[in-house]
Symmetry: C2
Subunit: 282 residues, 2 copies
């Protein structure tokens, strides 16, 4: 497994892989890797890609009061996980390599960020779209892999990749969960054992909505009430949102669910903000 530290090393490794006739698969991450990330590497390998994992805690996607400085970093553990998962290369740039002095360009996706995490995290998705654009240009992959757990992020990336004509297939991979249902997240390690128990209400609420939907319930109000009831049982510190939105436009659904819908929640336990979602397909 190659360790690449600079954009130049990344470009050179990609060039060599191309000369060997490889397809390139990209797995952008912020490190603190867990089984969800591993599943993305495995998906790239199943697609017979030469798989590059990028590990970069991207400062531009954190707000001033967010957890950039305390975001978990574990290079040795991450490299071991990448190697075990079959990654071919890992790219670990410095902030100064990705944002040299004078950097001034922002990639923004309008509309898709009006709801869900957008209002609570101003600038977040601009930071995501900008860094992922840069990684796309540097690695020029054939395919790029992202978790469905970050549903709005996935929608934003699909949108700008199409709008900016990147010739890249965006592959969404199913959320990986702990045995008790908690969606895998690098931020789970912030939770106290007690808060972790309370956090199970996220997946329970979503699962309940799925079950009601499967049994024929189509009314947004009914499903939302059920979700709110279960979330409340977890005594959350704060609920940022518990929303049912159109799966493509991410605009709120009113009345009945007639098209693919995303049920998404963002909930705080103490200082930790967790998100989770399920998709309902009529």
């Amino acid at each position: 497994m190659k360790i690449l530290r600079t954009p130049r090393e990344l470009r050179e490794a990609v060039r060599e892989a191309r000369l060997r006739g490889e397809s390139i698969g990209l797995v952008p991450t912020m490190g603190a890797l867990h089984a969800g990330h591993v599943s993305l590497v495995q998906a790239a390998k199943r697609d017979r890609c030469w798989c590059i994992v990028t590990i970069f805690v991207n400062p531009t996607q954190f707000g001033p009061n967010e957890d950039f400085s305390r975001y978990p970093r574990d290079e040795a553990g991450d490299l071991a996980r990448c190697d075990a998962a079959g990654a071919d290369a890992v790219f670990l740039p410095e902030v100064a390599d990705m944002y040299p002095p004078g950097s001034a360009t922002v990639v923004s996706v309008r509309g898709l960020t009006d709801h869900l995490c957008g209002p609570a995290r101003p600038g977040h998705f601009d930071g995501v779209a900008t860094i992922v654009s840069k990684l796309f240009s540097l690695a020029q992959p054939d395919r790029a892999y992202f978790g469905e757990k970050d549903a709005q992020q996935l929608a934003v990336i699909r949108r700008f990749a199409r709008d900016l004509d990147f010739p890249i297939e965006i592959v969404g991979c199913p959320t990986v969960r702990e045995a008790d249902g908690l969606a895998m997240s690098s931020r789970n390690r912030y939770l106290t054992p007690e808060a972790r128990q309370r956090a199970l209400t996220l997946s329970r609420a979503l699962h309940a909505a799925e079950a009601r939907f499967a049994a024929g319930e189509r009314e947004v109000a009914t499903l939302a009430a059920e979700i709110a009831r279960i979330l409340a049982e977890g005594r959350p510190t704060k609920i940022d949102y518990a929303s049912i939105v159109d799966a493509e436009t991410l605009q709120p659904v009113a009345g009945r669910i007639e098209r693919r819908a995303l049920v998404a929640v963002a909930v705080w336990f103490e200082r930790t903000r967790l998100i989770d979602n399920v998709t309902l397909v009529p």
Copy 2:
């Protein structure tokens, strides 16, 4: 010379050129081609590039009260000029091909657009950066050619190309002028003969500033007064700006000129807005 109408045809033509081992040179234009555009094609051919001219009147870089609908269009004349200049391909997409329904992504360059044309044309440079990003992704050129006449546009393009890691050399080409000094522009054809005469004050004012600078004058105030005096002789309908800015940051220079500076003017004659500039190198 190949005529390419769709992004798919462009990608395919580029792929074939690559297989033949060609370097790709891109000349993005809005058509209504003149000798300035022709010089860009010639520069690409001197660099031994397979030269693609793109002709697209980009709606997102026009403000609501600007001249999008009346912007000159002359496909037959443009194709003849491209062919004569030695272009290898011309890409003429439709608006719906470049901005299909749902398009929502904007590329923005911050800071560089605070002065000069930025304030007078809100959204203009976002439109430029977005369409040029798209053309870069579609054509994947080795080099792209732009006129120095649009100095702020060139600075914005250099900036986002570096920031978004496009592996493309941005080549700026000298402004081409009429025999009497008027900078070539597709918008010159809007001018009445009388306004065209008055418009010669732009190049005269810039040339006078250059001459004073060459003679040792370094004071911004003195140079600015000289420029203002000559511009006034043209009885302009309105002066948007006549500014001396740092050539790299495009921030106003105060006091003395110690580093490369751009002297740039934007002046209206009736309903026509003209720009011109020179660079002063201490």
